[in-house]
Amino acid sequence: MTAVSPTPFSPKEIADEGLTSDEYEEIVRRLGRHPNKAELGMFGVMWSEHCCYKNSRPLLKQFPTTGARILVGPGENAGVVDMGAGLRLAFKIESHNHPSAVEPFQGAATGVGGILRDIFTMGARPIAILNSLRFGDLSDAKVRRIFTGVVAGIAHYGNCVGVPTVGGEVYFDPAYTGNPLVNAMAIGLMETPEIVKSGAHGIGNPVLYVGSTTGRDGMGGASFASAELSDASMDDRPAVQVGDPFLEKSLIEACLEAFKTGAVVAAQDMGAAGITCSTSEMAAKGGVGIELDLDKIPVRETGMVPYEYLLSESQERMLFVAAQGREQELIDIFERWGLHAVVAGRVIAEPIVRILFQGEVAAEIPATALADNTPIYHRELMAEPPAYAQKAWQWSEADLPPCTDTGIAVQGVTRTWEEVLLTLLDSPTIASKRWVYRQYDHQVQNNTVLLPGGADAAVVRLRPQVGQTGDPASVRRGVAATVDCNSRYVYLHPYEGAKMAVAEAARNLSCVGAEPLAVTDNLNFGSPEKPIGYWQLAEACRGLSEACRELATPVTGGNVSLYNETLDSEGNPQPIYPTPVVGMVGLVEDIGQVRGQGWVAAGDRIYLLGSLHNITLGGSEYLAVIHSTVAGVPPIVDFERERRVQAACRHGIQAGWIRSAHDCAEGGLAIALAESCISGNRGASVHLPTLQERLDTLLFGEGGARILVSVAPEQGQAWETYLKETLGDDWQFLGEVGTSETPIQICVSGTPVIETALAVAGDRWGMAIERRLAG
């Protein structure tokens, strides 16, 4: 390979590619020579955390990944689960945090585009998008700009591409001020008979480049995503890609059509690290090599050098291995949709990635060195929990001012319980997200069973859209989906917090009547090179693994986003809360039997499934919002109780007893009650029994395994008999649903402690975000 001449690099040039000097030495050892500039760039992106998980891989190994319904686990573009009746579902979550911090609109838009490609690359038609978003405090003008830009970007891409955005979660906390989190999850229904995999095979088979053109946009995005953000990051704007959802829509149709011909041997999305990643991963997975000629690649700019071709992250591009002799068939399909499709290379026996440019070899690297046999760092776990956690755990409810029946004095000012309730309803994290989801087309494709805001999880009907269509009424199956993570819990106690994220996701699915099936996770953390960052990551992974085992929801894949820290002007890192977002899918057997969270009829009986007491103010929204305190031990997960309560809820829905169900999460029982009232436009009168704990704990304390349900009075007896048999004493009758004129009324031991007009509560909750954007 005389064309590759050894070139020494300065330490800065090596660092600029995101590589350490040890990693550089390893590259030289593997190649037996110095890399050239293009090769150095290829190693830089492929050995980034984003592509090779060098810090997290040892931790991810402990996840349960198999199960009766799991058809494809981690390692492919997306996981696939069996939904029965021949229906197979692909799903995956991915982050676009760093690009969204720098350019919110395009950063978020291309995040949606990227996760959709992971789905249709498998041969599945995307049928739903969810988002998990984190922002700083909306009083900050910069945060408002990021927030509105991200929402507009998601809307722009999802709406145009014609995939409904059906659900998600949005949290606001100063911990995310300079580093928002934008995680997008996509779900698809398999349309091809075989699941399309990414391993190249068939020596001599042509390699096709399809989709959009290649330009200099998004250069080195993967290494950018794996570095800490600083003020200078704004100068990295070329590292953010620009999306074209119209082109992606055409790409979806063309790819699915192409896969159905049977002429596609393997396919891979060009996401992070573009051509470099797709060629090396396809080659490494197939145990073969790929030779690719850059002169064949359609470009949007002139004068690009190999380094730029190889590291470009231009959007809406894919790489196919086609069956020899059938390439023209595929090219015709893409041209019909106005897309590029060119033969740019071939599969070779020698397991290397060989890049040709202007008749010469521009790069030549063993495929496994880039994609498989990559560095792994086993880091040392701190001997004991870090000081910040130990200090937080010392907090107890006794540290709060005393409560009375009327209210609590906060820094000398007495606040009634009604005021506290209204303040919490006005907290953007708890408040209605209508301002957000109203900008997303959530009904396109005509399968959305539960609309955003009306239930604890999204439900989409599994109706094939092409081929075997028929009477829509014959399609009863649906998928329920949710994304969840209370990152304050995870910050305070990564192991318990991560367990609770899984438990809550499963609970949300159970609340609509779905059976939880499988998980895709997005690990958003700070720097693993710092002891606290690694402790948070390791402990959270341990919690996720245990919870996914306990709740029988294996992990089928996901994404790792590290280095989520903002450097302030003095260069001090400001870490985000560790945020392991859990995306979970569940099976709905009959879409006619799903439930929302709002009350349905006056006179219905209200019950709490689970315990009235097993709760805490540690890590609660009440403690953070009312007392400006982030401390305590967050709720501890009781898996046995969690399973029993969720099973009772699902059974109650299937039996037709339960008419509404809502998880008690942030803000505790009082907030869950108010939300069911607002959502159903009906008040309620509720009586809580004699106190065992403080009044604020009873009202606003948080804990797992608690679901608020309503049941028609005539079903009450059968329902209670069932509850006694299955939950023993672990349930409580609370009161009755009222009319649209009835207030939200809570009595404790016979004394009224909260009485709020429905309209007042509804306005606080409904307008909280809009008010802050107007201000």
């Binding site: 809307a155 119209f246 009904q443 396109v444 009907r461 006619g592």
Partner: protein, 232 residues
Amino acid sequence: MKFGILVFPGSNCDRDVAMVTRDLLQQPTRMVWHEESDLSDVDVVIVPGGFSYGDYLRCGAIARFSPAMQATIRHAEQGGLVLGICNGFQVLTEAGLLPGALMRNRDLHFICDRVPVRVEQTHLPFTQQYQPAEVITLPIAHGEGCYYADADTLAELEANGQVVFRYCEANGGVSERANPNGSLNNIAGICNRRGNVLGMMPHPERASDAALGSTDGLRMFQSVLSALVGQA
């Protein structure tokens, strides 16, 4: 009775409409690729929602030049029925089949919601199964649905009874509060003078399947069906 649904590369409600005409109403339905120019086998042309050619220039500005739209214009001139929904409405105004234009929503945001709409004309083949002034609830999903026309055109539309749907309160009252996007005169849908071409921003196809909660829009397709069957 055959429906033809135009398919531009960026259409994304074409299959949703087909679900109603072909699967719910069991009518012959043909997907018409934008490069096709023969619509002679089709009784009703539907221009569906979506983003036709990406709509980066102006919604529907490119679509009007497509062979399928040229054929649609001929179909309309011959008195054939044409229904444009959402992006389809935008395309029909760009093609000159309907007057006025659709501009960015008043608050500049895309809006996806369910809104009450009053049926203003019930003699049309599209609306004869509705009661006069009936209030129905239809889904909307658009970023550019603010109907605009100059004062003369607007007066003419009103005088000729060409305003077919109007955004309203739940009780039927027309108010600024009930206007989701800033459309002049709360206009949600209009027809041409002859009454054979209808454009509307709301999505009747999304309110047609009982399994999804509403059938307020289904009656529009049933109206077309009974009108044409009656004619035959």
